[in-house]
Amino acid sequence: MSRKLVIDPVTRIEGHGKVTIQLDDDNQVTDAKLHVVEFRGFEKLVQGHPYWEAPMLLQRICGICFVSHHLCGAKALDDMIGVGLGQHIRLLPGPEKIRRLGHYAQQLQSHVTAYFYLVVPEMLFGMDAPPEQRNVLGLVEQDPALVKRVVALRKWGQELIKTVLGKRMHGISSVPGGVSKNISIEERDRFLQGEEGLLSIDEVIEYAQEGLELFYQFHEQHREQVDQFAVVPALDMCLVNDEGNVDYYHGRIRIIDEHKHIVQEFDYHDYLQHFSEATEAWSYMKFPYLKALGREKGSVRVGPLARLNVTKTLSTPLAEAALKKFHAYTNGRSNNMTLHTNWARAIEIIHSAELIKALLNDTDLQNTELLMIPADTAWTGEGIGVVEAPRGTLLHHYRAAKTGDITFANLIVSTTQNNQVINRTVQSVAQDYISGKAEITEGMLNAIEVGIRAYDPCLSCATHALGQMPLKISVFDARGNIIDELCR
């Protein structure tokens, strides 16, 4: 009998997703999909609010990469008031570096959370380990010393975010044209030298290297499985600087193919010329793609794997050494092995830590000139911001009326960029692990989730758009009274 397999909800990811797999009478997989099952509506609900609220409101899209949303929004507002990159005006050095510091701290914190809390359990226990075990509880039981180090690492990232942005989550420091506060010597020294209950930067770098070691060990033991799991060819996209290397805060958008040839490169302010977003009935998440290539060929991959495929070098020594090894593994071609995303993520943890160290030693952080205040005539009323969020290229685009009220907002978030490629991954794993098997186990379905988790998708982020209310639904309150009832 034909059957449908369902994973509901997909766990150990941020946000809400569901997987369905269709099997025919011979147990062959005929279809497999990731459905994003939530939406929220930020693009619409921000309209009518004063423009300066956008970075505060829109970071509520995501509790793990809020700094990226906050900064992306702030960059768009820089453009809007006429001191931004849309006008080729860079911020003062102090504020730009302070924003970068917050951004790198978040990349560290976000990657550490994703890698250790969500992905490492599979590396240690295996994909078909007991579902109760392959998680952070299992880690604590098996290796409490490791978990202690992970907790310390994450805490350090969060504390640095708090110092730069004012709060551990949903910060308040970036304002149009700059930042509202600098970093004092005392604040800086806490992170350089550490204190009771807080690591020093050198310990952070040391712990970060252990994360990469963990991947190497895992790879060594399971080379075939890791290398053959969901090999999904795709274009890779990220922001690059003038040298063609990844820049997490600002740059041009570069897209490369499997041979690392540049397929397209453009100023992100021109994104509308290049991107369309398709919609499918079965998911609230859209499918962006490059217009020139069409949806099949023009869907891109973003995030750690894409960035390390695109970049030629990394600007810090330990990360650069690790990158050389990463590049050598595929002989100069793009790496399409989905599970190597975790390798790339571990390298980026080290890179973020090293970038932070360099910045902490930069005295521009103590600058007191923090804001550019443009003349009223500089107001453009429109702004676009793009950053490399932990999960990939993130875009915010706003327009505001002269009075300052937002009239339009469009967002393309990293996980949405990955939608097509994640779905290809789900199909690939379903074919390899499920198709034609007589008995289906929970572990085989977890393999699909492993493929999804490699992208560290943030489905909370991906559901900013408003959808519709199909058919009729009644909502009852605690006493059983109908409080909402609607028809399509």
Binding site: D8, H35, F39, T113, P131, E132, V136, A278, F476, D477
Partner: protein, 209 residues
């Protein structure tokens, strides 16, 4: 709609590798906690991790059942405490919230979204039809000349027109305000409850941003 006649198998009902009995026994002795995100941003869930090293200490006494951090997809045992992040924005949120209410002795709304709908509830001001058009018909990146598709499928839940606070759908026992509340605040609540003390959150620990 075409697949409704098919036999549906959920991953959490399929045969799984069993837990080591000794490990399971040690967990069985612990106080069971569950936590889940409904319509939120995952920030409140991560605030639980912001308990930092105190979390490791607590795990001597506490174990976690259904949550987005474990692969336990349904609550099958009685739970002492359930933490809820996010408000109610679709029918799946309603089902999940009811499952938690049914299985948890104490249910706690964590954060602005769970308590009053939070930022997502700002959509309550907007007419649904205009939301639809904004997202899928008039979107600036919509595919040119394509017939607009509006998501509508048996495998995605239907959306409520308004976003609701959890306590409008089921009874909630306690509330921890903030966007998000600090890890220390959640720790105080959990530590009190686990040690048999009353819920007692001083207003000085509440956050209202």
């Amino acid at each position: 709609m075409t697949n409704s006649h098919k036999k549906t198998l959920f991953s959490h009902d399929l045969p799984a590798t069993p837990m080591d009995p000794a490990l399971q026994a040690s967990r069985d002795q612990k106080i069971k906690v569950a936590m889940i995100g409904l319509c939120g941003c995952w920030g409140c869930t991560l605030s639980l991790l912001d308990m930092d090293e105190a979390l490791i200490g607590l795990l001597d006494k506490v174990t976690i059942l259904r949550s987005s951090l474990t692969d336990i997809k349904r609550i099958r045992q009685r739970c002492a405490i359930g933490f809820i992040e996010g408000g109610v924005a679709n029918e799946e949120n309603i089902e999940t919230l009811k499952e938690y209410r049914e299985h948890c002795d104490i249910l706690i709304s964590v954060g602005a979204c769970a308590i009053w709908g939070g930022v997502p509830a700002m959509r309550n001001e907007v007419e649904l039809s205009s939301c639809l058009e904004e997202a899928y018909v008039d979107s600036i990146t919509a595919v040119a000349n394509a017939i607009p598709t509006i998501p509508y499928h048996e495998d995605i839940p239907r959306i409520t027109t308004k976003v609701y606070p959890c306590h409008e759908v089921v009874k909630m026992d306690y509330f921890i305000p903030g966007c998000p509340p600090d890890g220390g605040t959640i720790l105080k609540v959990l530590d009190d409850l686990v040690n048999g003390r009353e819920f007692d959150l001083p207003t000085t620990m509440n956050r209202y941003d």
